[in-house]
Symmetry: C2
Subunit: 333 residues, 2 copies
Amino acid sequence: MTKKYQIVGIGNALVDVLAHADDSFLTENGIEKGIMQLIDMDRAVDLYRKIGPATEISGGSAANTIAGAAHLGGRTAYVGKVKDDQLGAIFAHDIRAQGVDYKTELAAADIEQETGRCIVLVSPCGERSMNTYLGATDFLHPDDIDVAMMANAEWVYLEGYRFDGPDSHEAFSKANKACIAAGGKISLTLSDPFCVERHRDAFRAMIKSDIDLLFCNRDEMLSMYQTDDFNAALAQAAAEVEIVACTDSDNGAHILSKGQRWHAPAVPTEIIDATGAGDLFAGAFLWGLTSGHDLETCGNMGCIAAAEVISHIGARCEVDLMALFQKHEFMAS
Amino acid sequence: MTKKYQIVGIGNALVDVLAHADDSFLTENGIEKGIMQLIDMDRAVDLYRKIGPATEISGGSAANTIAGAAHLGGRTAYVGKVKDDQLGAIFAHDIRAQGVDYKTELAAADIEQETGRCIVLVSPCGERSMNTYLGATDFLHPDDIDVAMMANAEWVYLEGYRFDGPDSHEAFSKANKACIAAGGKISLTLSDPFCVERHRDAFRAMIKSDIDLLFCNRDEMLSMYQTDDFNAALAQAAAEVEIVACTDSDNGAHILSKGQRWHAPAVPTEIIDATGAGDLFAGAFLWGLTSGHDLETCGNMGCIAAAEVISHIGARCEVDLMALFQKHEFMAS
């Protein structure tokens, strides 16, 4: 029987605040280039005061992934928490407008925190430095996990960043259990090498117990297995999960499964804003997988989607990905 | 003595909500293509629910103009009203971050209205259909006009759209009086042909009494003087004000002053989103004028700035306009 959802994502519901900044601004303000750093409300206010004019676009790593799969026509749902404020309304509108089923209860009106946001500073080279104020998204609780929804998912997709949240491990476990019991599978993205640093033990435990498909990039993979030997780390991951999909920036992506290995080349593009590359890779990959494509094709689709999203500001895709798949002859036109 | 401000703008403080929409969506939802239409909160909520994923960028016609002049290094201030909510904070941040002096008092916390916004639907051809919920910006009152600021302005720039507001005529008159008494000059943009239709008498009266520089496009000019004869309308306007700067889409712009007439050619560009073309034309023109350039050069600078802003989504300029002026040899490099 066809399940209601191909993919259900769980993660940090954030609105991205995108602005340009040069390296001297990053240095002066103690911002680590190219990674995600967590900031509190005071720091968010101070940093926002200092940055130039900005653009607001819905973001959130897993939300970008799910929006990408929905854009391709995938049956999807998303779980992540916002507050009843204007940024929360923007987040909810944008993900629903993409066709994603999104019904997570709003955070309590009396909490001090507002809807979470990520101040994304885009360097002239396209590299992005993310400053995340979690706000309301940190309040995601096991009660927000609808077990019927998880049982109705072919795949659940977990955002590694959400491991930063107090109740998230329990929420993830509840989701995984309901999905697996109904014959579904679980995927996880490691999100960021520093996120791996913070949660390596929890990640490793969940990988061994629940994960069927691991998304990561080269740096996350090396951090995960605490080695400098990329191939050894890939082999170790491939021994623990059914599928490994590891992006490798302009080297494309490596896919490993059951003793086989494929390489998907990167699609050449001018990098305007690297935000969302990994997210869209995962979105297209999971859409491909749940639409009957082989793993190599899924990897190629992921690389095409990643190239699209880095060619413009913002981490949600802007052009018809299906048309790009057809152009690259991965889909019949 | 050099005045503190080269240009002070007064207009509708709005955040743009930009989404793509095809013609059938416009037709189904009764949206007139290519113009600005005023909508109430209920309509704004309903329309927002129906549109696809959107991007939020600070807008407002005169605010775009002033942001453009500030981007060029102009000494500028802006007057327009927002509420103490998240969209109001976004508007205030973005205009201040551009270097504009902005200190209009926030709308009262107990009004029902929120910060104003404009749902901009961008057609595949780049044409934009604007649906404006005025919200808090409609509460701009004569008390918001700081006469010392106006006396310190070489030019005041009035947004025609603000004539829709209940107390705005009085606010504009107060600003004009203070500026003129201190030796400053007044410019006005007609904003939109339907805006001209609504306020023709008020516009004509103010043009005759206060206006030194009139900005408009061809359609607004024809509507203003209720004729089909473009040259006759231009001549009539030129008889009433010192300078007429009339844009004419891909025919560029016509500048008339004291019996002379110049033509500034349009700069060829791919139109991604026409939002802000007239606004940035005025911003660059006024910056040029208050920086000692001749009227023909001001017109050319206006056309370059307009071409930049229509080459991307959003109505604030994204690239270094000064570098573009140098490239076109209107500035020494």
